[in-house]
Amino acid sequence: MKLTLRVWRQKNADADGAMSTYEVDGISPDMSFLEMLDTLNEELILKGEDPVAFDHDCREGICGACSLVINGDAHGPERTTTCQLHMRSFQDGDTIDVEPWRAAAFPVVKDLVVDRSAFDRIIQAGGYITAPTGAAPEAHATPVPKPDADFAFEHAECIGCGACVAACPNGAAMLFTSAKINHLNVLPQGAPERESRVLDMVAQMDEEGFGGCTLTGECATACPKGIPLMSITSMNKEWLRATRKVSRK
């Protein structure tokens, strides 16, 4: 396959960026999208040009590092991570636009690499259960109803890639934040910190400069792990519940 790539190039956080056009040839439909970019980078290095920087690591769809907006879609046309997108999803001769996640809370580091540390800070604000090592009771002491365990798992699947933010017209992090809150708040182990968790995490999310939710549903459509939009509804419910409870104290 022969393709024209238009790639966002930006030297560093402070520099201005622009789209640059590259031609790549000899692309196999079996290549992953990132392998196609590898091919481009090999050529650029030999030409003495700066290769395109992009985040990637496990390349099996679980680490959440890869983060490209392809033709306007976070992670491209298939519902998966960029690393699991294959070139057979494109046609010979296509022009493909490749851009970084765009959100004020995710500043560009270089080219297609962005800084997602805001997500870490949201987790730090309360996305955990306080269980110091060694203090744990016997695992079977507290049974967890299977539907609750399944609900928790469904939300725990979030890989923290940030596609939800990238896809959201408001640059909101509601889906990410709600996934963790729902995972922990439904479990009996998470109950003691249930209120502070949702209040603190939402406050941190706002603090980071993410937008608000207008329920466009773009986040859930882009989510490679299929975290449902309803996750946000559950979080709102938790938040209102916590606000009421805390104000009563």
Binding site: R6, W8, M19, V69, N71, G72, D73, D97, E99, R102, A103, A104, A105, A167, C168, P169, N170, G171, A172, L199, V202, A203, M205, D206, G209, F210, G211, G212, C213, T214, L215, T216, G217, E218, P228, L229, M230, I232, T233, S234, M235, N236, K237, E238, W239, L240, R241, T243, R244, V246, S247
Partner: protein, 223 residues
């Protein structure tokens, strides 16, 4: 608590949801009242007069009406200020656009902000037209709402403004009602279809009900 709510994006959305639902409730009543126009000037004018005497003798003349107006003003202001602040925030959160842009989300969703602005402007016009009579087309007659309505919808621009605004209202309610349910945390997977249906039905009924009046005037059913 008020502080927590107002300072949080989720809290502001709650304010929008609650104020939106108050307005929606009002609109349903308003729309039903409007339909009385099809039963003649007498019934319609009587209804309009009744609005001022509701609650008597407990309430004084027009007290109930002013109470409702006060609640509505608070709802409109809260809704608008939250919307403005949230929109500002949303735009700041996404300062640069994608070079490769493509339409996202449904039409109703995308038009929430513009629709809201259209509706705000409409409310101003609507009050100046039929409540105070300031911009009324012919001589505004206080206490004769039937004639005032007929006059308004006898002008082309009166019809255009009104119908466009009501279409915007339909779209606004369609996404807004369902959205409010999510914000208030009452949505769920099992309830989602029902909520969407209710939103669609509400949007359709309100739009149709409201538009019926100018259509009635235009077709001569109401004159």
């Amino acid at each position: 608590m008020a502080r927590t709510v107002w300072d949080s994006t989720v809290g502001k959305k709650t304010v929008m949801a609650v104020s939106g639902l108050i307005m929606l409730l009002y609109l349903v009543a308003h729309m039903i009242g409007n339909l009385k126009i099809f039963f003649g000037a007498g019934e319609f004018n009587h209804y309009a007069h009744w609005l001022r005497t509701v609650g008597e003798p407990f309430m004084h003349y027009e007290w109930t009406l002013w109470l409702i107006r006060a609640v509505l003003v608070v709802a409109v202001v809260a809704h608008a200020v939250s919307a403005y602040q949230l929109s500002r925030r949303d735009i700041r959160a996404r300062p640069s656009k994608y070079v490769h842009a493509r339409p996202r989300a449904s039409y109703a969703t995308r038009t929430m902000r513009w629709g809201g602005i259209i509706l705000a402007l409409f409310i101003v016009w609507h009050l100046l037209d039929l409540t105070t009579g300031t911009v009324h087309s012919k001589g505004f007659q206080s206490g004769h709402p039937y004639q005032n309505v007929v006059d308004t919808f006898s002008t082309w621009y009166g019809n255009v403004i009104y119908i466009v605004a009501m279409l915007a209202l339909g779209l606004h309610i369609r996404h807004g009602f369902w959205s409010a349910a999510q914000t208030l945390g009452v949505g769920s997977r099992t309830r989602d279809r029902a909520l969407k249906t209710v939103a669609n039905v509400l949007a359709l009924l309100l739009t149709a009900g409201f538009i019926a009046v100018p259509v009635g005037v235009m077709t001569g059913v109401v004159s």
